[in-house]
């Protein structure tokens, strides 16, 4: 069995945890994220007929009081960068986090997820901002933790990227 460690990164309350909670095998409660700073889950995906176990490290959100602990990314094969479509500032946080990952671990495969696609009318992130990100070579997926839209796709794409590397 192939095992790959991936991390979930993003600003505080962008919905990382709820994004994945429906799609992964969870052993621990969300409380671990606030106490330990991380919660580990598992998700099995299929890439080109090959089963891959994704060990998902859901890291505590980044805000002015708490910084994501970079050491948790040690040994990760890739990560999901999450932003909240209704909060434009979360894109900035995402950029900043990516920067820090690059500084610590070099360029790792990642997927940029903009969450809360179900609240399209309240979005502050417009198409121009999305295009800007794509222009930088980012893979952007709009997703919704509520409807489940785009989530499976995000995991599959990341696994594919890691596998192709």
């Amino acid at each position: 069995m192939i095992q790959k460690k991936i991390c979930l990164l993003g600003a505080f309350a962008v919905g990382k945890t709820s994004l994945v909670s429906r799609f992964v095998k969870s052993l621990y409660s969300d409380q671990y994220i606030t106490t330990v700073g991380v919660k580990v889950d598992k998700k099995t995906v299929n890439v080109n007929g090959q089963e891959i176990n994704l060990i998902v490290w859901d890291l505590a959100g980044e805000d002015e009081f708490q910084k994501a602990r970079m050491s948790y990314l040690s040994g990760a094969s890739g990560y999901l960068l999450v932003a909240d479509g209704t909060r434009i500032d979360t894109i900035e946080t995402a950029r900043m986090l990516r920067q820090r990952v690059n500084e610590n671990f070099g360029a790792l495969p990642f997927i940029f997820i903009i969450n809360k696609a179900d609240l399209a009318s309240e979005w502050e992130i417009d198409d121009q901002a999305v295009a800007e990100c794509e222009g930088q070579g980012w893979t952007v997926i709009k997703a919704s933790a509520k409807t489940g839209e785009g989530v499976e796709e995000a995991f599959a794409k990341l696994a594919e990227k890691i596998y192709r590397k």
């Binding site: 052993l27 330990v36 580990v40 891959i52 060990i55 490290w57 040994g75």
Partner: protein, 615 residues
């Protein structure tokens, strides 16, 4: 590479073909020149090349050369990498299979020195473990505490063994995780039997995350820069022990309280061994965990446990009561063996006694349906085996089955016994049997003797009946009566004294009777008539007188009808007086004739009769 041998242009100038035209002749000349030139320039090299080609093309030469290099080549290649081993492995395996298939003995012989000790060790370990389990089970089954645990087992639905283990647990390693140090990914995981486990992949990640968090906490809180690794996580009744190598972490989940020494004795060596054996795999790890299957034995060596009352398997001593039990079993076997041996000895003794008996032949003996069994032939006159069994052996007659077929034995004792049964054995007669001859000695009635002579022939085993030493009581009586008779004579005369007519008559009857009886008894009778005188007068006259007296009686007896053949007459004069002469009545008695009877075997009598009677 081509298999065809290399070829080279011959050294000698080529014979030109028949020139057909000027062009070809010119070409041939040119070729000749070329060949000559070549010969001059490279002849030496040409010879060397030929030598080399010879070496290359001759398989025997090549084989010889390769044999010189082979072992060195194998050593060099094996030092470089494993490809030689991999290449040879299938051939070796196939050869091994085919060798075993053809004849397994050589391989068996080769490995038997290893197998023996290994099997012995395995058996002794298994036996020790069994005794230990048995010991524990006994201890816990019958104690008060054991009963309490039984109730608990019944109440909780857990098996009794499980309850006992829970209560006597000192420690038990429940799970062992081998974790990739950098990523926290699980490389290998094992759990003790009946331990409930969660998804080990996730637990592995979490264990790594928590370690990481604690390290940061230690650094943040106490400025503990050296918080390189966390040794132990204490979680109440469980602990997680960590042992790490440069690239891997061993996380051991222990229930109960284990001795710290386990770390140095088992866990650290395990992770060191894994790090050493799989360094390259660990360094290049990219998510594929399958190569770490190899580390399972190391992880299994960490699945330790200890229960109350359980001692170190190496120090385990067999408890006293098991020794006692063994001793008891041995004693029982010994007793059984002794009784079996004793019975077999008694049985042999009985059989020997039977064999010693004339008229008993054992044809079969042994054990049948748990009883002793003997069968054979027995003369009805032989000793009774039942009596021998009862009186001469301590065997229980109820344990012995006997079956005897009757037969007639020719053993002398039995022939004699048979003869006695048939012809009887009156008092005064001594019967003996030897080499086919039945002999009778002593005195017996005339009738019995006659019967015996007739019946002896019908006794199985008797060839001859010898009664020469047997005296006929009736004949003897008669003879005695005759010998007691004395016929007196007138003084100086062969004239019978008066008043003896009756005596003569009786005598005649008696002698007649005797002569009649003796042939039936196989005898011949001889009656000697002896004439006597008193001592008065001269010797020759007395002789003549005694002769005349005996002759006188002979004529009187034959006149009475008795055959002359049985008589002998003799005159004894005064030399054999009937009674020593001291009184006149003695003198009178000596003027007489007396009788002497001999009973002879019939043959002897016949030979003597031919000469008699004579003076």
């Amino acid at each position: 590479m081509s298999d065809s041998p290399l070829r080279i242009v011959p050294n000698q100038p080529v014979e030109p073909d028949e020139p057909e035209n000027a062009d070809s002749t010119e070409a041939a000349v040119k070729q000749d020149e070329m060949a000559e030139l070549r010969r001059l320039l490279v002849e030496q090299e040409q010879i060397q090349i030929n030598n080399i080609l010879e070496r290359l093309n001759n398989p025997r030469v090549r084989a010889r050369e390769m044999s010189r290099l082979l072992s060195e080549a194998v050593k060099l290649r094996a030092a470089q990498d494993d490809s030689l081993t991999e290449a040879l492995a299938p051939t070796v395996v196939t050869s091994f299979h085919s060798s075993v298939k053809k004849d397994p003995r050589p391989v068996a012989e080769a490995i038997s020195p290893l197998m023996g000790p290994a099997i012995r060790r395995a058996i002794s370990t298994a036996l020790n473990a069994m005794i230990q389990t048995f010991d524990q089970a006994l201890k816990h089954s019958f104690s008060r505490q054991g009963l309490k645990w039984r109730v608990e087992s019944w109440r909780t639905g857990k098996s009794f063994a499980e309850v006992v283990l829970l209560h006597t647990l000192v420690y038990r390693v429940e799970q062992v995780f081998l974790i990739h140090k950098q990523s926290g990914l699980l490389l290998q995981h094992i759990a003790a039997s009946s331990v409930e486990t969660q998804d080990a992949d996730i637990v592995s990640g979490m264990l790594t995350a928590i370690q990481e968090a604690l390290r940061s906490f230690a650094y943040d809180s106490f400025g503990q820069a050296q918080a390189e690794h966390i040794d132990t996580l204490d979680l109440g009744d469980r602990q997680v022990w960590f042992e790490s190598s440069p690239q891997a972490v061993l996380a051991v989940v222990i229930r109960g309280r284990a001795s710290e020494s386990l770390r140095d004795v088992f866990f650290a060596p395990a992770i060191e061994a894994i790090q050493y054996e799989q360094r390259e795999t660990l360094e290049s790890f990219d998510g594929d965990t399958s190569p770490f299957e190899l580390s399972r034995p190391h992880l299994e060596s960490c699945l330790l446990s200890r229960y109350e009352g359980q001692t170190d398997p190496a120090k385990f001593k067999i408890p006293l009561y098991i020794w006692l039990l063994l001793a008891l079993i041995l004693a029982a076997i010994g007793a059984w063996a002794f009784f079996a041996w004793r019975e077999s000895r008694r049985w042999d003794d009985y059989l020997n006694r039977l064999r010693a008996q004339p008229g008993i032949v054992i044809t079969e003996e042994g054990k049948r349906d748990g009883k002793l069994f003997v069968s054979g032939l027995r003369d009805p006159l032989a000793a009774d085996p039942e009596m021998i069994l009862k009186e001469q052996t301590p065997l229980d007659p109820n344990d012995v089955i006997s079956r005897w077929e009757p037969y007639q034995a020719l053993a002398p004792q039995l022939v004699l016994a048979r003869a006695k049964t048939l012809i009887g054995s009156p008092q005064g007669v001594d019967l003996k049997f030897e080499r086919g001859k039945l002999s009778a000695k002593g005195a017996a009635p005339h009738l019995w003797i006659a019967d015996a002579q007739r019946l002896a022939r019908f006794v199985h085993g008797v060839i001859e009946f010898d009664d020469t030493n047997l005296i006929d009581e009736d004949l003897k009586e008669l003879s005695d009566q005759i010998e007691r008779q004395v016929i007196r004579f007138v003084v100086g005369s062969a004239q019978i004294a008066p008043g003896q007519t009756q005596t003569i008559k009786i005598l005649t009857d008696q002698i007649q009777k005797l002569a009649a009886l003796t042939p039936a008894a196989g005898r011949a009778v001889r009656v000697e008539i002896i004439g006597h005188t008193d001592i008065e007068g001269d010797e020759s006259a007395n002789q003549r007188l005694s002769d005349d007296r005996s002759a006188r009686i002979l004529s009187m007896l034959t006149a009475g009808g008795v055959s002359k053949d049985i008589f002998l007459i003799r005159g004894a004069a005064s030399k054999e007086p009937v009674r020593p002469e001291t009184t006149p009545s003695d003198k009178e008695l000596n003027r007489s004739v007396s009788f002497k009877i001999s009973l002879l075997a019939s043959g002897k009598a016949a030979s003597q009769q031919s000469k008699e009677p004579s003076r």
